[in-house]
Subunit: 305 residues, 2 copies
């Protein structure tokens, strides 16, 4: 897809997603007002809504045209957001700024930072569960698709997905022994790729995709998630500090083991190319109408910042 | 019900619940082993399993005899446990011991305490969602009951339930202005009664109770939860420190506003009696076969420690 057309579509689709996600945020009122404010502050911090974008586009590519996807679009963004809110806490990464604003705990205090994360994770499920109210209650197959989408979401977000990856990452940083390639890939697969996988698979399941399509999209999502992380490591070595917004080479300075330090930059680049080509081929396997999603994935992976 | 018989039943039923809950805990293996250990350490800290007990007994009282309740029994205990794990964190209550053992963060570090709580909350939903696999996939009504039970669980656990109560409690303690009766009841209703309500209503919904029965049990659960908290305040003034395991009068020493300081001890006792009688009457409204559950509730409320 041509860049100009893609960019215009992206802008339009992002606006649509902002409207949908905003519609699911709780009103800031009642005696629990502060935690509600902290939750909304976190979600409205200006992310790119990549996960909901991947979910919605996969849903549409697979022929979905209902609105039971909408609560899930908000839910995956809430889960992604809660993970950032807790990651930023003093006992974790101790970050005070994110995207040019104070982090949630810095703004609302540490106790409220913990509660806002808890509130968001729980609200993600409250929101996603409301999808049951958008399908025919007497249609067991439709109810089953929502149930299955919920199981995928919960599975990828938890200890066998994102939380598991965070645990391994925290331990790797605190123990200091060098990571093996397998350990590094475990972290990338769980900390980053798991929610990408949840996004694409939830979209596919809700649209009624068959087992082979879902398997293909699962592999595609894993390639995208891991390639995205490796590109991060490459940019840390190669990117200009202006493009990246952080000091180049900071991983090396911090003695951080990355895909690049383990495999060398040439191999890392080759692997990113291989994974992005495989991801595109898997998409083509699922649907002929995959032009936007393919461009989105390639743009994500091959970003220069 | 006679005390001796009740105690024997309680012991037997608690063993049954320990077996069920234990069966849903994750194996401690893989690269995320530490967070899994921390999660299991927290759940196995020796709670009384009151919430699963109320859930199972309500389910049975309402005629339930399937096993789709079992994942929910484990899930409510995981949610209760995660709330304690996060409550104990340095930024919250900064507790180092609970039930004679180190708290989770004290044992596994603060980052792992945060992640174990997150992992437990998420695993509660993973677990509860597996109830869908225990009902007939072509039976829309059975799928609908599981969906409704999930919505109740999530609703009572979140910002319009337990998390909302915790937020109000944290703020009340940090700002120092005296609580009104309405504010105190908001905290009790959400911080404590919400999960009691979830327990009883999930049991009722899964058993197929009708709308009037569910409404009665909801009110019953709220009475139980609030009376339980007021009894806590009464025991703080009256209990012997040996029975209570904490210094008597600690609320007064900490200048803490309680139901007793707001209403006087005589009125507090009258209200506990009124609520427990109302709760028992509501149970009788739902079923003739409520003997064990009634004794359980009255024992809970009128405990001396």
């Amino acid at each position: 897809m041509e860049t100009q057309k893609f960019n215009a579509l992206m802008e339009e689709k992002t606006r649509e997603l902002e409207r949908i996600i905003g519609g699911f945020l709780p009103p800031e009122e009642g005696m629990q007002k502060t935690v509600l404010q902290a939750m909304n502050y976190s979600v409205l911090a200006g992310g790119k809504r990549l996960r909901p974008m991947l979910m919605l586009e996969t849903y549409r590519m697979c022929g979905g045209d209902g609105d039971e996807i909408e609560p899930f679009l908000a839910a995956i963004e809430m889960i992604h957001t809660y993970s950032l809110v807790h990651d930023d806490l003093p006992a974790m990464d101790n970050d005070m700024y994110r995207r040019g604003r104070e982090t949630t705990w810095k703004r609302y205090g540490e106790a409220m930072g913990i509660l806002a994360g808890d509130g968001l994770l729980n609200y993600a499920y409250e929101t996603a569960l409301s999808a049951f109210e958008r399908v025919d209650q007497s249609d067991a197959a439709a109810m089953g698709r929502v149930a299955r989408a919920l199981m995928i979401l919960a599975g990828q977000a938890g200890v066998y997905g994102m939380v598991g990856g965070q645990c391994a990452d925290v331990e790797a940083e605190s123990c200091g022994t060098p990571l093996t390639q397998g350990e590094l890939l475990f972290i990338h697969r769980n900390k980053t790729a798991a929610l990408i996988k949840a996004s694409m698979c939830v979209g596919a399941v809700l649209a009624g995709a068959d087992a082979a399509q879902i398997r293909a999209l699962e592999q595609c999502a894993e390639d995208v998630g891991i390639a995205f992380q490796i590109q991060d490591d490459i940019l840390d070595v190669e990117g200009s500090s202006e493009e990246l917004g952080k000091s180049v080479g900071s991983d090396a300075l911090n003695n951080k083991q990355t895909y690049v330090t383990l495999n060398g930059i040439e191999q890392a680049k080759k692997d990113v190319t291989m994974m992005s080509e495989r991801a595109a081929a898997l998409l083509a396997q699922v649907s002929d109408d995959h032009d936007f999603l393919k461009t989105l994935i390639l743009t994500l992976i091959h970003r220069r910042r």
